[in-house]
């Protein structure tokens, strides 16, 4: 089965210059604020996790053509339907036409500050020893990955050095597929610019990614 993410943009060409905006500009329209709030409130029901959310967004066929919060809104609609919380005809009609499904939690207004302040930590306690050590040279996994992953294409099959060891974290590749958290050791792996972009790379560039252990193999 093929899995296509439209969100993996690192190193791609042809998108033109960065268009800056003043620091004070936060939203372009009121609906954007509401799309954000709906996404956070529905996330708080515990029906899906952040990796499922990212997967739902990055595989939208029209990802490239949508603005940021339009992607959020479409991704949210998709999750709601896929998880059986509402049907398409209801979303189109703008009113409830079928019964509600049970959810684990409903975020109430008075719980918002504490819920946001707590966040959703992804660090987990270690049950295995780390496979790689600080300073060790590693090679990243190469080739196609047939599901959601956080290993960007530009950093696949590349040699880097372990720069930080973060401890075990929830593994997005399984968590996004509903296969559980399956925590894996997480590392910051740093690459020389020439390893990623060849000899014409800008001078004195290093780029790091955060990579879970299954993304890495030892270099011998």
């Amino acid at each position: 089965m093929t899995y296509t993410s439209h969100a993996d943009l690192g190193g791609k060409e042809g998108f033109g210059p960065v268009v800056q905006e003043p620091e004070a500009l936060k939203f372009h329209a009121p609906w954007e604020q509401r799309a954000l709030a709906l996404t956070l409130a529905m996330g708080a029901t515990g029906t899906w996790n952040i990796d499922m959310t990212r997967s739902a967004r990055e595989t939208l066929a029209d990802y490239d053509r949508l603005t940021y919060y339009a992607i959020w809104l479409k991704g949210l609609g998709r999750l709601i339907v896929e998880h059986g919380l509402a049907e398409r005809d209801e979303i189109a009609a703008g009113r409830m036409l079928h019964g509600a499904a049970p959810v684990q939690r409903v975020l109430n207004a008075h719980d918002v500050p504490e819920t946001l302040a707590r966040g959703t930590p992804t660090a987990r306690s270690a049950t295995t020893a780390a496979r790689f050590a600080l300073g060790e040279r590693v090679r990243t996994r190469a080739g196609e990955i047939p599901h959601h992953t956080r290993l960007p294409r530009y950093a696949r099959g590349k040699i880097g050095v372990v720069d930080r060891v973060h401890g075990p974290h929830v593994f997005p590749d399984t968590n996004a597929q509903g296969l559980g958290e399956q925590p894996q050791w997480l590392y910051t792996v740093v690459f020389d610019g020439r390893e990623l972009w060849g000899s014409r790379s800008t001078p004195n560039l290093s780029v790091s990614i955060d990579a879970w252990e299954p993304y890495l193999e030892p270099l011998r």
Binding site: L9, M96, D210
Partner: protein, 205 residues
Amino acid sequence: MPHDAHDDHSELGEMDVRVRALQTVLAQKGYIDPAALDVLIDTYQTKIGPRNGARVVARAWTDAAFRTWLLEDASAAIASLGYTGRQGEHMIAVENTETRHNMVVCTLCSCYPWPVLGLPPTWYKSAPYRSRAVRDPRGVLAEFGVHLPESTEIRVWDSTAEVRYLVLPQRPEGTEALSEEELAELVTRDSMIGTGLPLPKRDAR
């Protein structure tokens, strides 16, 4: 021109209708508390933003013990100033020096340290920045008006996990006499992403 304005208006109106329709369905089903939406919107509109991060940076500039703590355990050091939670659960602070400039991106989506910087600006979430930050950071920096010598190492941190990065910029010269509060005024959002530098003293906000 009036015609364009009209089209814009219709498009915005259409999105507004769609979001409201979705909200109505979700509220009728009892999944959301509409009052919670207002609190969420207000929080990110007025309470959480880059002034938080500016206070962290100014503290690090004036308090050597805090700076050390920030570089060793950013989550704890930042939490001590009251900034915790969603999209900042696992913080790392990276320090700019004479020889190294740090820049943060999320090539895969829009990962960004919300508790200290608020919501990411549109450019941070858009294809030009996400595609070019890792490949042509000097070109991107030039567009932001930042020109670094070729001898300066540029380190780009692609936020591919739930670790969030805050750049600790260099303290501008000639600011020895400034208070922590005055120093915070020099710290721009972009200087904490690494696409900018702090304001020089005379340009204090």
